[in-house]
């Protein structure tokens, strides 16, 4: 196997913000290597330090300690002017889009080209091309206020791609969008990653976003990396508490079910809906019902996975019989103590 090339290397990144008294340590000694051409996810609860971490990559936020490398070049030691040069090869998009409100879609995409000194006669043509790439070829003259959220994010993506960056940083890029629009934007990002080979870093608090487009993911909790690995691996068997919280509670309303609940299990089976006959078979075989608390089906890396939270019989013997039935059929089962 050939060694993967590293695009972004964060080395021992710590960041604290000075407070009235003392300081607030937001990131603690973070080491991450992001490979060339991958879609890397960073997920965590609100306030975990995700935004701070991604802003440390392009040095919108200066880490208190540690180094940042982009494609082998150390950014943390560069002078302002050289750093600005490097930033032309890092695009960034935001939850709130941050478009220039007094410029049209086309002019917004022209902006990074203007400031990076691209020749005037080429700017417009290139900007138009990019808007066509993101599917907005017919809205060149529209102002941001005339566009929907999804369209605005597409303009922002086109703008971020204008200077042909090596890296695209996305800070909660779909958090302000509805599910359909989110799916569209994520598809576009995946497409960009595959067609242009741009390395993408996705920050989110939604596991669904990670599953949709990421190859690898880092779970950040309290300013530290709790877990890092392939998306499939972490989805199937999260090792840390932070990981379990994110994976189990995805899409469920926590307040609706009051924990802790006894005899509750999380089952994961390959092949989505095919899990339901297995459960049915189990109930018939053991002559007892299982209470299905929640369930969903997901595509991960092109494979279908079903996940269910079920509550099994009070009776210990029946319960064990049920579990044995599931394990025989290559279903992952794990007892959970809070739902």
């Amino acid at each position: 196997m050939d060694k993967k090339e590293i695009m972004i290397h964060l080395e021992g990144i710590s960041k604290s913000f000075p407070q009235k008294r003392g300081s607030l340590e937001v990131l603690k000694n973070i080491d991450v290597q992001i490979e060339k051409g991958e879609v890397f996810g960073i997920i965590g609860m609100s306030g975990a330090g995700k935004s701070t971490l991604v802003r440390c990559i392009n040095l919108l936020e200066r880490p208190t300690e540690g180094r940042v490398y982009l494609d082998g070049t150390e950014l943390t030691c560069l002078a302002e002017k050289e750093l600005r040069e490097q930033r032309h090869s890092m695009g960034m998009i935001f939850q709130q889009f941050h478009l220039l409100m007094q410029r049209t879609a086309l002019e917004n995409v022209c902006f990074p080209l203007e400031i990076s000194g691209v020749q005037k006669d080429q700017v417009k043509a290139r900007a138009k091309e990019l808007l066509e790439l993101v599917g907005l070829g017919d809205r060149l003259g529209a102002y941001p206020s005339q566009l929907s959220g999804g369209q605005k994010q597409r303009v922002a993506i086109a703008r971020a791609l204008a200077t042909e960056p090596k890296v695209l940083l996305c800070d909660e890029a779909t958090s302000a969008l509805d599910p359909n629009t989110t799916a569209g934007v994520l598809r576009l990002l995946k497409d960009i990653n595959e067609r242009l080979g741009i390395t993408i870093v996705v920050i989110t608090h939604e596991m669904s976003v990670i599953r949709e487009i990421c190859n690898r993911v880092a779970i950040i909790d309290g300013g530290q990396i709790a877990e890092i690995g392939g998306v499939e691996e972490i989805f199937r068997a999260p090792k840390t508490k932070a990981g379990r919280e994110l994976v189990y509670h995805e899409g469920t309303n926590r307040e609706a079910i009051e924990g802790p609940i006894a005899h509750c299990y999380r089952v994961v089976f390959r092949g989505g809906i095919s899990g339901e006959p297995i459960l049915g078979g189990m109930m018939l075989e053991c002559n007892a019902v299982a209470n299905i608390l929640s369930g969903n089906t997901r595509m991960i890396d092109g494979r279908v996975y079903g996940q269910m939270m079920i509550q099994l019989s009070e009776d210990k013997e029946t319960r064990e019989k049920m579990l044995a039935y599931l394990k025989e059929r290559d279903v992952e089962v794990e007892e959970v103590y809070y739902v």
Binding site: L60, L83, A160
Partner: protein, 219 residues
């Protein structure tokens, strides 16, 4: 007879006021706009933080702004004399107007540019924009509608100042109101001047707001 004389008098005074206001506003912007831009750029949260420059400029502006216009005009008389060679008449009045209006404009400009969302500036920084590029291509164009509203406020305020400058022989509507209405007791003339001033302010203000609204692309 009386009517004809009055009409001529009002006509001259009217144009004097307009002239004085426009010239002063124009020059005051040449001084005040850069001051405002420097305030924004050098702010602690700004694109190029420079605390000492920011604070010094801020203090100077506050001092000038805290002196009432009429008293300011009197206190800067030595400076006025130095600048235009006289302490009375329209020229002297314009010096006073500039000194008073420039810091005011600086604050107007500052508050307009501060309305620009921080995220937009950050987005520009993330693309590698320099502080100067951010100022010229982001802050000023994004703040344009607000800057225009500010300029309507500035021009009407300066018109008011110019009327007060009538006291030192500045000419214009204010001078007529003071000379005829106050010194000679012809209060009817004074009221006519006041009504005229009110009308001019209304027109300028409305005009400024309309232009600002037209240029704003945020709907």
């Amino acid at each position: 007879m009386f009517k004809e004389g009055l009409l001529a008098l009002v006509g001259v005074a009217f144009w004097e006021s307009i002239y004085m206001t426009i010239i002063s506003t124009f020059i005051a912007y040449i001084i005040g706009l850069p001051m405002g831009l420097i305030l924004v750029m050098t702010d602690k949260e700004g694109v190029r933080p420079m605390p000492i420059v920011h604070q010094t400029l801020g203090i100077i502006i506050n001092i000038v702004r805290s002196v009432p216009f009429l008293i300011l005009m009197l206190t800067i008389m030595p400076f006025t004399k130095l600048a235009v060679g006289t302490t009375i008449g329209p020229k002297a009045a314009i010096v006073g107007l500039l000194v008073a209006a420039a810091p005011f404009i600086a604050r107007l400009v500052e508050s307009s540019l501060k309305e620009v969302e921080k995220g937009v500036v950050e987005a520009a920084q993330s693309m590698g924009a320099s502080p100067l590029q951010i100022l010229i291509k982001v802050l000023m164009p994004e703040a344009k509608p607000s800057l225009l509203v500010g300029s309507a406020i500035a021009v009407t305020t300066i018109l008011g100042y110019s009327a007060m400058a009538g006291f030192i022989g500045g000419g214009g509507l204010g001078a007529v109101a003071i000379n005829y209405g106050y010194h000679r007791g012809q209060t009817d003339i004074m009221y006519i001047m006041v009504v005229l001033l009110v009308i001019i302010v209304q027109i300028l203000q409305e005009l400024g707001m309309q232009i600002a609204k037209r240029t704003d692309k945020r709907l």
